[in-house]
């Protein structure tokens, strides 16, 4: 049996009196693509951000590669974050740097790659997301789809073991969603472990190994996409699916 790369045990998170995550215990195996779906405000983004400790859990445990992140010091957490790439809804590219510089920054400052090596790496990754001709552009001149592909390339530059996607297509115009999803599908085909929060049901159906349905601070269902979409178990999931699938 393979050892899980991410293991979440009794995770809970509250903001003040608002309990966003109540009690979550799940695991992600290497190579798996997990798609987290569910109604807005159900805690999906918070859950994802707890995985790399952008949010500090109120209680519970997040183990990455066998190490409990919640007990590690900042330095060690920084090191483990390198291995978990994250892609945000709002891209969060650095606006004062070119596309190439965006990708080179972390490899140079964190992994101490020299400039030539970092540049070579950045060009490779840009080719992979079909944007090498935009290497010297500034983020403000990119379309949303292009910006998100650069953001994916930037995260990949740290050679992560896991990629976390936080609603990567929600801020995009509809005609740009496809180009981002196809890059993500390509990644999945290459065997990347991925946890994706999204509303793209098509992507969930075709790419996910497991669908986690999340609502009210719990993961209500954990199933294969075929099983989940054709045969939801809980009323909450049935209700959700009836609203999005006409």
């Amino acid at each position: 049996m393979t050892k899980p790369i991410i293991e979440v045990k009794n995770l809970a998170k509250s903001f003040g009196k608002n309990d966003v995550l109540k009690d979550i215990t799940e695991q992600v195996n290497p190579g798996q693509v997990i798609v987290v779906i569910g109604p807005s405000g159900g805690g999906k983004s918070t859950f994802l951000r707890c995985l790399n400790l952008l949010e500090t859990p109120t209680s519970g445990e997040v183990d990455f590669d066998g190490q409990n992140l919640t007990t590690l010091d900042t330095k060690k957490v920084n090191e483990l974050r390198e291995e978990m790439g994250m892609v945000f809804q709002g891209f969060n590219l650095f606006p004062n740097m070119t596309v190439l510089e965006n990708i080179k920054l972390a490899p140079m400052k964190v992994k101490h790659l020299d400039d030539a090596a970092a540049t070579k790496l950045a060009h490779e990754l840009l080719s992979q997301v079909n944007l090498d001709d935009h290497a010297d552009a500034f983020p403000s001149s990119l379309s949303g789809g292009q910006a998100q592909r650069v953001a994916i390339a930037r995260a990949l530059a740290m050679n992560p073991k896991v990629m976390l996607f936080d609603e990567p297509t929600s801020a995009l115009d509809p005609e740009m969603v496809g180009e981002v999803l196809s890059v993500m599908q390509e990644l999945a085909n290459q065997g990347m472990t991925m946890v994706v929060v999204t509303h793209e049901m098509g992507f969930a159906k075709s790419v996910a190994d497991k669908v986690w349905f999340m609502a009210d601070g719990y993961i209500q269902e954990n199933n294969t996409p075929e099983e989940f979409f054709s045969n939801p178990q809980t009323d909450r999931a049935k209700d959700f699916l009836s609203k999005i699938l006409m």
């Binding site: 709002g90 969060n92 590219l93 650095f94 606006p95 972390a106 964190v110 530059a157």
Partner: protein, 492 residues
């Protein structure tokens, strides 16, 4: 006699005296080592305010600007008799006594009269000169005014807080007395008919009349005591050995009538060489020196102020833990305190207050004080700039494994800097102008230099016009350069 007492000066004096009591490193310890100290270092430092011809003023001697006048001659005589070298240190009159008490200078010779109030805080030598007062008027009015009593319904001007000012108020009736800080300004007011007469010391009045054909002097006929019209050398309290030694020199000066026979005529010669050419071009070196120091102070202060500002801003944004909370509290208190006190007081405090612990030159003190001041303002700009950077930027950087420090340095601060660049540019331009405040501790920046040119040339307006243009050239050039960099940072 010059006897300006400004409120904050008195406050500062008491503060400094208070600190003197606390710290043990005082200039005048209980045992009198004043004389041995001077002999040991081989120099006698004389403090003076060189804007008061013929007592002391700036003149160009062999192409070099230096302080001359009868007081300098007295100082040279004392130093020579002690067998040491005289060093003249210029500063504003207000600062002289503090400089004496904090050991910045060994003695003060600046046309200072030994009043009972001053005797409480310093020791005086015998008097080396007995003067009197005249009133300077416009030559055209010569028939109208005879003495102090002719100004009924008119206005007499005098240096604010001086004995002349007090006596003019006391000894005239129906006359308005107008106070200004510098004699050059008073003469200007006289020539523009804002006032009808200026009360000043006889030698000064003679110097002004000799150098300005439009002016005439009339006797004042003030009823004065000897201590109001005599000049003495001031020493730190308790330096009896040094005073006794100086008294021997002063007595000789008196006996041989050196002031009237030698010192005043000599000073008169310098005055003439000074006023031969009163064109502003003739003084380009003085203005150049002013620009040089203004720029040195501004650039250094901006540099250190920025570093301090970043540190303060980060400290103010720290959270969690006793240490960070403590630092935040300290930084906040610092910023509030600096913003809540005048820069002028800060400059004087650094020069005289810190001077008790380490003896800092005036230029260094000025740079330190202005950097400390600027840092507080810059800290607030930077804090605002950091807050203006979207939190997503930090999250993106952290998710890439960058540490908090690296995130701040490579991601947040560059963007914050871009956002606050116009404010920082403002601060830089403000500093070019505000650096003028260090003229009070005798740093020869533009304002200080222009005051010297004013008293040298007896021209009130021209030097002001010159530095106005110079300041504008400096600030305009600076703002062009800043705009260039602002444009270069624009990517969106």
């Amino acid at each position: 006699m010059k006897k300006r007492v400004i409120l904050f000066f008195a406050l500062l004096l008491s503060l400094v005296t208070g600190m003197t009591a606390i710290t043990s490193t005082t200039a005048h310890a209980a045992t009198d080592n004043s004389l041995t100290k001077v002999e040991k270092k081989g120099t006698l430092v004389m403090g003076t305010s060189p804007d008061y011809p013929p007592y002391e003023f700036q003149a160009t001697v062999h192409g070099k600007s230096q302080v001359v006048g009868m007081d300098v001659a007295v100082g040279k005589k004392i130093a020579k008799d002690l067998g040491v070298k005289l060093v003249v240190k210029s500063m504003s009159f207000d600062s002289l006594l503090v400089a004496l008490q904090t050991g910045k200078v060994d003695m003060v010779i600046s046309g200072m009269n030994p009043t009972p109030a001053r005797k409480k805080s310093v020791d005086f030598s015998h008097t080396y000169y007995q003067g009197g007062y005249s009133i300077v008027i416009n030559k055209n009015d010569k028939g109208i005014y005879k003495d102090k009593d002719s100004f009924v319904g008119k206005t007499i001007g005098a240096q604010t807080g001086s004995t002349m000012y007090n006596e003019s108020k006391k000894q005239t009736s129906g006359t308005k007395v107008k106070g200004m800080t510098s004699v050059s300004d008073l003469i200007l007011a006289l020539q523009s008919h804002k006032i009808q007469g200026v009360a000043m010391e006889k030698p000064s009045a003679q110097a002004y009349v000799a150098n300005n054909k439009e002016l005439a002097a009339i006797p004042s006929n003030f009823d004065l005591s000897a201590s109001d019209t005599s000049a003495s050398v001031a020493f730190a309290k308790g330096s009896t050995a040094l005073v006794n030694k100086a008294n021997k020199s002063v007595d000789q000066i008196k006996q041989q009538n050196l002031v009237n026979k030698t010192y005043l005529p000599e000073a008169g010669k310098y005055l003439k060489t000074n006023t031969v050419n009163t064109s502003m071009w003739h003084y380009w070196k003085a203005f150049l020196t002013g620009i040089k120091y203004t720029l040195i102070i501004t650039v250094c202060s901006v540099f250190f102020g920025f570093i301090l500002g970043v540190i303060l801003a980060l400290a103010r944004m720290g959270d969690g833990g006793v240490l960070r909370t403590g630092l935040r509290w300290l930084a906040t208190a610092y910023v509030e305190f600096i913003r809540g006190t005048p820069m002028m007081v800060q400059v004087m405090f650094v020069y005289f207050g810190l001077g008790l612990i380490v003896n800092l030159p005036a230029l260094t003190s000025g740079i330190i004080a202005i950097s400390l001041n600027s840092g507080a303002y810059v800290a607030e700009y930077i804090r605002g700039g950091i807050n203006s950077v979207d939190s997503g930027q930090t999250e993106a950087a952290r998710s890439l494994g960058m540490s908090g420090g690296a995130t701040m340095r490579y991601v947040v601060l560059p963007q914050a800097l871009k956002n606050i660049w116009p404010s920082l540019g403002n601060e830089f331009i403000t500093l070019i102008k505000d650096s003028s405040i260090v003229s009070i501790i005798g740093v020869s920046e533009l304002i200080f230099q222009s005051n010297i040119v004013r008293s040298d040339t007896y021209r009130g307006v021209a030097p002001i016009a010159v530095i106005m243009v110079l300041y504008f050239i400096l600030t305009f050039t600076a703002s062009r350069i800043l705009n260039y960099f602002e444009r270069r940072m624009q990517h969106d």
